[in-house]
Subunit: 360 residues, 3 copies
């Protein structure tokens, strides 16, 4: 290929990188605005988390620690993936940390994230052979890891009292949250296809869009069935589960399989929000503010596992090994990060905008 073509293909990646940035800030940021009294803080936290994670991962990578790539654009996209996983993690403890603690969380999170990514995708420590673990769009490495790490943190940083304080939303916070949800939905194909070669882009993005259509319809049906009426938070969140679950196999399955994966993921995620969430929180008396277990954790693991049924020639052993490694590293390092964070102060009631922000 000529140098001109190589430059052009880099610019095409750059546009996908910008789409991912839209997801990180506008998508994750506004999805988290559903907490009525904490909307401006959620957005501020999003800004800070991204601004800590991207330079930190970029620095790590350019120093060649735990792997590392040569291309500026690839490095940027990998840094954005790390930031996405961090935002998922932060969703579990949204409203339970101070701004400075979110930044500390970023500093603690990125190294463990990079370690897990290195082991699963780069053959780090020789645990999983390079290229054997199937996870193109990060169902496991990004989504499940972030969610499980976040639950680890929540184990230290949330309390029974917080569990008993209901999270309030209103018509305006709901609409902002749906706005964030739609930004994520729209740009999800660029997330999954960020590092895919041009020739495989069409198939990849069609699969992602069909998976999202499937989870959106399934979410509506499951929410109505399980709750009697449709819950706005289900729509805003579980509609995206198809994107989470198709990640692992987005460039490898047929459109019909993608649609089916989306339907299953949407139903699973809605079941999580509508049924598991309360029981889970009841039993452990901890809070997962944004329900990241149900949007990213379970659908992410489902996406990694379903690859074993839908992708020809996959190594079942490596796939399962990768998933188990992710679960262990995420939970252990999440618990560790939670302990460290709790040393810098913890509260028994959720924060509101007025505590750290000047509110008119």
């Amino acid at each position: 290929m000529t140098e001109d073509l190589i430059s052009i293909i880099d610019v095409l990646k750059y546009f996908r990188a910008i789409h991912i940035m839209a997801m990180l800030l506008l998508g994750f940021g506004f999805l988290m605005v559903f907490v009525k009294k904490y909307g401006r803080s959620a957005i501020t936290a999003t800004y800070l988390l991204v601004s800590v994670a991207v330079p930190l991962y970029f620095l790590k990578d350019s120093q060649g620690l735990l792997g590392g790539v040569d291309s500026d654009i690839d490095r940027l996209i990998l840094a954005e993936f790390a930031a996405a996983s961090l935002l998922i993690c932060a969703g579990a403890v949204l409203g339970r940390l101070k701004m400075a603690q979110y930044m500390l969380l970023g500093l603690l999170f990125v190294p463990f994230y990079a370690l897990n990514e290195w082991i699963l995708l780069d053959g780090g420590l020789g645990l999983v052979e390079h290229g054997r673990f199937v996870d193109t769009g990060g169902s496991v490495v990004i989504h499940a890891f972030g969610a499980l790490f976040g639950l680890g943190v929540a184990a230290s940083m949330t309390t029974r009292k917080e569990y008993e304080t209901p999270i309030e939303a209103d018509a305006t916070s709901d609409r902002f949250s749906l706005l964030g949800s739609m930004v994520l939905w729209v740009f999800w194909p660029s997330f999954c296809g960020a590092l895919v070669a041009p020739a495989d882009i069409p198939m990849t993005i069609v699969n992602v869009i069909l998976a999202l259509c499937g989870s959106t319809i399934a979410t509506y049906a499951a929410s109505l069935k399980l709750r009697g009426k449709v819950c706005v938070a289900d729509i805003a969140n579980a509609a995206l589960a198809g994107g989470v679950a198709i990640g692992s196999t987005c460039d490898k399955v047929s459109p019909l399989i993608a649609f089916a994966i989306g339907i299953l993921a949407g139903a699973l995620s809605t079941f999580g929000f509508a049924v598991i969430q309360n029981r889970f929180q009841n039993s452990i008396k901890k809070i997962d503010t944004c329900g990241v277990l149900h949007l990213h954790g379970l659908p992410g693991l489902f996406g990694g596992l379903i690859a074993m049924l839908t992708v020809n020639g996959i190594s079942h052993g490596d796939q399962i090994k990768g998933i188990l490694i992710t679960i262990v590293i995420a939970i252990v390092s999440g618990l560790f990060a939670g302990k460290i964070l709790s040393l810098t102060g913890r509260r028994t009631e959720p924060y509101t905008d007025s505590e750290e922000l000047i509110v008119d």
Copy 2:
């Protein structure tokens, strides 16, 4: 052309496809949030309409029914066009259907849309010779068709009582609506240029942007003139009329003509909202919730007709034939769909969020 170049051109189309997806969800979705008590429902309905239409059209097309293309990306873009037309149609009856009925509307709409598209653009049934009907950006096939179909549905699904219930907006619903409007404005060039060859993209998108500038200025002036003060809904809607009307000829006229088409379309659309809307609704006692006749119907037909004055070598006979066929198919099939929908239940008062959604 080499395979590399072909792949790259596909990725360029993919980015336009993502822009169109932003228009469908964030654009149409939030534009419809102007109904204060129905905002979350409007967004949920948008999610469902897109998630039904895209897979359905995709399936039809991959089966080769009523034409069909080979490329995944072209098929995706055509499916998005179908979804856009469906959203326009749904705008006419926004708040008059239950969620399940929106989905049924999608199932009824897509086949007729595909039939009309096939006849006008693919030489289906031998009525219009392939390639003779000029409508690059879909002024007629997408906008006018969707609006007229929607009016057909509204004829069955709205009542005098609904007509008498004013639609309430407030400062927040207005701002969300303007947000949706701006998303549509920004990405409109990608909509019109979605299937245009790279060499014609610059001219196409300059024309679309100039047409939108023209309609925006004309909307302000006409709204002020006709109403004494400027109406926010005029700005949110009629400012986009230039995009609707330039569709047919976006890759064929000069920038100055494009600007002029935009001015005329903005004035026409504002006249529709400010003057025709009340008289029309008064006379037939039906509601067109979003005023799709004035944003998509009239400017779309105007765009198709003005092509006869501005495009050299156009076949006037085929252009008029195509427009008439669209009008007939849209209205007849819209009336038919309305009858079917009314069998599944109809109401005499508009829905609010609290009826189908769990509202805090």
Copy 3:
């Protein structure tokens, strides 16, 4: 290069042009929605300012006045730059003009903007040799010029009484403003890299993103330090100062330098909002509604000046000459425009939505 490649590179520019359009409408527009009682007017004004500036610059350029380029896409991007600078200028007097006056402001602004651009970048009048003034992303030509012109206008168009009327925001206007801020943040790399050659895009956009991360973190720290609590308006505005300041050198410095420039710019801008703003307004009894001096003026000048320290082989003489010319033309022509505008009427109290818009 083949014609195919040239077309493709044009399409790549087109996508950046669309990103810039998102910044102009959704970004600047919603950032200015922080004024609670003037949100819909701010968005309407944004629509009108863009719709006046883009065709006007396009016309000027296609006529070859004050320079002018051959390519439609380059011309569009330059027209968008002019519109960006105009929006910055309008931010200084937001809420002090009637809609028709914003449009008149556009007509007055664009010629002076084009004059300054021509002198600095095209060798106009022989004052600065072509290609010697370093300002790739427009720190000086776009940001500082717009801000200083706006202050010139404000000198005529704001009064002591307005100065004494506090600008009210609330939770919803804040969230809309943060939304606009994030749109600007996300697409800023496309703004700075709009006219950069494909091979230099990766480095450019990494620098812009790192600069924005730097200013975001610095803004948080400085706001907390200077005010005791974090001010939402600081986050929404000063977080972007890294993008403003990196403009001049975005394709020329290392990532670490970019990050450092961002940190300094964020601190400087926050200092402006938190400390200088009140003193400045106190001393001259004029209002700079959006604080454009602190977001665009000072960081823009800082960006132009820092180029002298960070770019090898730069001509210090030309760089300083260019900055001084910009300051003089912007302020003098801004004062002139303010005088003209004040002939068409001025008020002593800020406008609210209800005066020019039909408000439900």
